[in-house]
């Protein structure tokens, strides 16, 4: 029986949070936030390969190049904690398969998406049951893909898309205290990766699509260096932001974009982009610049996607010529 008359402490012991920004390493230097070494419009390199899971009708594996700070930390480790993380995920497509017996008749393909973090994917461990953020990602992914698939060519059948995230982006630098700008920024990068990988896997499964849909992320960040030097901290637009590399992300946008048709099937804007004036010469509104930036990032991811799908088609067509 719990004591209801008093305010009880937590049932297990707690420890005060220790933040890396206040920690000194063994050499005496404070641990530093990883820096972005890329140009503002430069994407991280993407590894994308299809057909890695033989039991699935289509599959894809996607990996972002780790940032330079992570590569440096791996070669000469200063701390046991990696400074940043890079996205790694696997996508499988099962189907077209019959609908479950309880389902009603559907003249179209019924799309189901599942996004699941591996328990070790993020710095905070995830449970085995999908939580709200994972279900949210699944819904976003389904919206992104539903506009691409030609569903009426597959009557009475279902398509299951399952994404396992092996390593997720951080929402902020691990040494930062939670602040007002906090939001699950890493989730947006994860969603962009999910869209690109799912698109490759669907093409690998040979489900009819209007186009290869690619995901892209852009964010408006305010750099703290500029603020320290006394300049007015002008927010900047960056493509494919790694949230660990920035002090504060004001707003971010992820799109699912079809380059051949110039259409967006899914858009997700987060944060405050009203006061973000991007310089005096740029009169465009914050959110328009954000969407344009995200579309540009998606165009970059699309070039990788095209190569991966072409490789899948060549492998598929080449298989028959070799064994005939």
């Amino acid at each position: 029986m719990t004591d209801r008359r008093r305010i009880n402490g937590p049932p297990s012991g707690t420890r005060p949070a220790v933040f890396a920004s206040s920690l000194k390493s063994a050499s005496g230097a404070a641990t530093e936030r990883p820096r972005r070494h890329r140009q503002p419009n430069e994407l991280r390199k993407i590894f994308l390969k299809t057909g890695l899971i033989p039991s699935a009708s289509g599959s894809a594996y996607l990996e972002y190049e780790p940032s330079a700070s992570l590569a440096a930390a791996r070669s000469s480790p200063q701390s046991l904690i990696p400074p940043s993380s890079a996205l790694k995920l696997a996508c499988t497509v099962h189907g077209p398969k019959p609908l479950p017996r309880s389902a009603t008749f559907s003249p179209n393909l019924v799309l189901t998406t599942h996004v699941k973090y591996a328990p070790f994917a993020a710095r905070q461990r995830k449970g085995h049951i999908r939580d709200a953020s994972e279900r949210d990602l699944g819904v976003h992914l389904e919206t992104a893909l539903r506009g691409v698939i030609v569903a009426e060519r597959w009557p009475k059948s279902g398509l299951d898309i399952t994404i396992t995230i092996l390593e997720a982006e951080d929402d902020r630098w691990w040494g930062d205290a939670p602040d007002s700008h906090d939001a699950p920024w890493g989730m947006m990068n994860v969603l962009a990766g999910c869209i690109t990988a799912a698109s490759a896997a669907i093409a690998d499964a040979r489900i009819d699509c209007l186009d290869l849909v690619a995901g892209g992320v852009a964010a408006i960040v305010s750099d703290d260096e500029a603020a320290e030097e006394g300049n007015s901290s002008t927010p900047k637009l960056m493509l494919d932001t790694d949230p660990a590399e920035h002090k504060s992300i004001l707003s971010a946008c992820v799109v699912a974009y079809m380059p051949a048709r110039d259409e967006i099937t899914e858009i997700w804007l987060k944060g405050d982009h009203s006061k973000a004036s991007l310089g005096v010469d740029d009169s465009s509104l914050g959110h328009e610049a954000l969407i344009d930036g995200a579309v540009n990032a998606a165009r970059g991811a699309h070039t990788v996607l095209v190569e991966a799908v072409r490789e899948s088609a060549e492998r598929y067509a080449g298989l028959s010529t070799s064994d005939s």
């Binding site: 095209v306 298989l319 028959s320």
Partner: protein
């Protein structure tokens, strides 16, 4: 003919304007242009008449012909033409399927569809395999029919993966063309038999409808009560080679 047709297409790639080609399977039309909707080799099927346009399609099955973009002017008499491309790999009306019997009731038999046969593959299945020399454009599923059948005819595999296959019904009146009212389902099919049938309807949300009311349709593989593979002796009888016991089936013509 425009020389801009790619050999290999990826989804969303513009192939040709609709004014020069007709859109076939694996493509879609957007803004009077034909776009690929799946990744694969591009095929041009020559028009059947002078007035019609050639059909442009993207093949779902891997092709053995190395030059797909060039329309073949060879007449169809020399070789069976390329197998008819389909919009999907699902069973459709008139497609011939191989299915395994999962349940036999008084009025109907429930089967689960193992593979949808191509037209080329059903030609291949007709004559005995030793005499076939004509190359046929095999599809991915149809290349390993033997593997699918041998695993499906094995009693150990009966319980698994039935949920992943499309289910179908053979109603009592669809079993054979003559003496429909005298059909006794127990003497037509047994659980575990492999049946060749043709789809007559997409049916409701859960079942397709099959018929075996043709001479070339019916049971193609069956095991006797003793568990041995049986051979057909007549249109309604199969025999166990070991025990010599005959069992009743609706047998498909073996050749």
């Amino acid at each position: 003919m425009a020389s801009t047709l790619p050999t290999l297409a990826i989804p969303g790639q513009r192939l040709a304007p609709v004014s020069s080609y007709a859109a076939g399977p694996g493509t879609h039309v957007q803004n009077a242009n034909i776009y690929a909707s799946i990744a694969g080799p591009v095929l041009v099927n020559p028009a059947s008449s002078k007035t019609a346009k050639s059909t442009l399609s993207v093949s779902r099955s891997p092709l053995r012909t190395a030059a797909p973009a060039a329309p073949q002017s060879a007449p169809k008499s020399t070789a069976p033409g390329p197998s008819k491309l389909r919009y999907n790999t699902l069973p459709a009306v008139d497609s011939i399927v191989l299915a395994r019997v999962t349940r036999v009731q008084k009025r109907q038999a429930t089967v689960s569809i193992l593979v949808v046969l191509d037209e080329s593959a059903s030609n291949k299945a007709g004559p005995p395999p030793t005499t076939t020399t004509a190359p046929t454009g095999g599809a991915s599923d149809n290349d390993n029919i033997e593997a699918i059948l041998s695993s499906a005819a094995n009693p150990e595999n009966h319980s698994n993966s039935d949920e992943l296959r499309f289910q179908a019904l053979i109603r009592k009146e669809d079993v054979r063309a003559v003496e429909k009212d005298r059909v006794v389902m127990d003497e037509m099919f047994r659980v575990g038999d492999i049946v060749r049938g043709t789809v007559i309807s997409l049916g409701d949300q859960s079942f397709y409808y099959l018929t075996t009311a043709r001479n070339d349709l019916g049971v193609v593989m069956a095991r006797s009560e003793a568990g041995n593979m049986m051979f057909p002796v007549s249109w309604k009888e199969m025999r166990d080679p070991v025990t010599g016991v005959a069992e009743l089936r609706k047998v498909a013509r073996p050749f």
